[in-house]
């Protein structure tokens, strides 16, 4: 019996931890939506969605684990309601529940979804049953066909692009050897012996000297 109690405690702790993580990511997403809205780039949003869905999956995994006791077998009974504000409760629920009163408790301990949600769920279920299995399978096939076509288009475009880029690299636009000779020519005058003829330069210097006003 004591072992079971401890197991339950550990399970609840884990579940609370997972839910807190999930709540944090949801808060981040809401904050992002509010602050950046459409200006944020979509890979960012997708990343946050994938984080959230990952956290949902882990939470479900924890709940479905064989070692996890079946939580719905445990009952929660409100033994005493109190209309007075409770500071500790307010703190532990992040300012959401001011008192353990008849106003909040029925909602908090409810095990069935909202009546509205339940109605919606039922209508959808009914709609699903009404639909002819033939029509639905036809729609699925059509959808698959469209998706397949798109995949083909994308892959053929990629093939085309790849061959095109490999073809465009064929005509040479630059050569490393030419770069080397040019830079050597600039830097040292070597290799191609760029104008390695001092005689022409000497006349150059003289001409420059004669132009100088102080010499005249």
């Amino acid at each position: 019996m004591q072992r079971e109690d401890r197991l339950l405690e550990v399970t609840v702790d884990t579940v609370v931890q997972r839910v807190t993580d999930l709540k944090q990511s949801l808060g981040l997403l809401l904050q992002k939506l509010e602050h950046e809205g459409e200006s944020a780039d979509w890979p960012d949003y997708l990343q946050q969605y994938s984080v959230i869905s990952g956290q949902m999956i882990t939470l479900l995994k924890v709940l479905r684990n064989e070692k996890t006791p079946v939580l719905r077998n445990y009952l929660t009974l409100p033994l005493q309601l109190n209309a007075d504000p409770d500071e500790a409760l307010l703190r532990s629920t992040e300012n959401r529940v001011p008192a353990f009163s008849h106003d909040f408790v029925p909602d908090l301990l409810r095990t069935k979804p909202d009546p509205e949600l339940e109605m919606k769920f039922h209508t959808l279920n009914a709609k699903m049953n009404i639909m002819n299995s033939d029509t639905s399978s036809k729609q699925i096939n059509q959808h698959n066909k469209v998706v397949k076509h798109i995949v083909e288009m994308v892959s053929s475009a990629r093939d085309e692009w790849e061959t095109e880029t490999s073809r465009s690299s064929l005509p040479q636009t630059c050569s490393i050897n030419e770069t080397h000779s040019l830079l050597a020519a600039i830097g040292t005058g070597k290799q191609h012996q760029v104008g390695k003829a001092p005689s022409s330069i000497k006349t150059n210097i003289k001409a420059a000297g004669q132009m100088h006003p102080y010499r005249q």
Partner: protein, 219 residues
């Protein structure tokens, strides 16, 4: 007296600039070449990348004479690396009214950077600079004529030019069948962020041109 004071204050501000490493005496360089046939393609791509895309690239036509000033205080030294200081004199052939330019570039700095980093000083000078260098004992090492285009992208200077040998009268022969492509940016001793910008521009020019940090002394 007042002149002395102002000279002193200029010296002070130069000194403080040097102390605080804000003198733009460094340059980042990436170099490469493009074959003559593809120059027009490169130019149109550069026009799209650089500032003032609506106007044609500015042209230049320079003559560059390289002098070597030997280190006379150490006459016994021989072998590579003791070749003395190389000083380059540039004059604009298409704008004879402009001052000439004396340019010093140092050895490339050691280290792994996105672009080659070297010391660099440019001084505008009068046309008798060659005489002056001659009197100092500098010898002409080589000279060439460069002709091409210059563009700007923010702080980055982009030049595409062809090198010609200086032959007889007006007869100029290209060294190779390619143009030199050079990206450079002046910077200070502490600011190395511009090197990444240089690399980004260079990557956008691939595979048309492959710009690298090449050290000509190792070629």
């Amino acid at each position: 007296m007042s002149i002395n004071l102002s000279v002193q204050s200029v010296l002070d501000s130069i000194e403080s600039a040097q102390k605080n490493d804000i003198v733009p005496d460094q340059e980042f360089v990436l170099q490469g070449s493009v074959m003559d046939l593809s120059v027009s393609v490169l130019l149109s791509r550069l026009r799209g990348l650089c500032d003032n895309a609506d106007s044609l690239p500015e042209t230049f036509h320079d003559q560059e004479i390289c002098f070597i000033l030997k280190d006379f205080s150490n006459p016994g030294a021989v072998g590579p690396g003791t070749g003395g200081v190389m000083l380059r004199v540039r004059k604009a052939l298409d704008h004879p009214e402009l001052p000439w330019q004396l340019r010093y570039t140092g050895q490339p700095e050691v280290g792994n950077r996105p672009a080659l980093l070297r010391n660099c000083l440019d001084v505008p000078v009068s046309s008798n600079i060659c005489d002056f260098l001659h009197e100092l004992g500098a010898k002409v090492d080589h000279e060439y004529v460069s002709k091409g285009y210059i563009m700007r992208k923010g702080r980055i200077k982009v030049t595409v030019f062809k090198i010609f040998k200086v032959g007889g009268k007006e007869v100029q022969e290209g060294v190779t069948k390619s143009h030199v492509v050079e990206l450079s940016a002046l910077t200070t001793r502490v600011d190395e962020a511009i090197a990444t910008d240089l690399r980004i521009v260079a990557d956008q020019l691939k595979p048309l041109v492959n710009l690298q940090n090449l050290d000509y002394r190792r070629l």
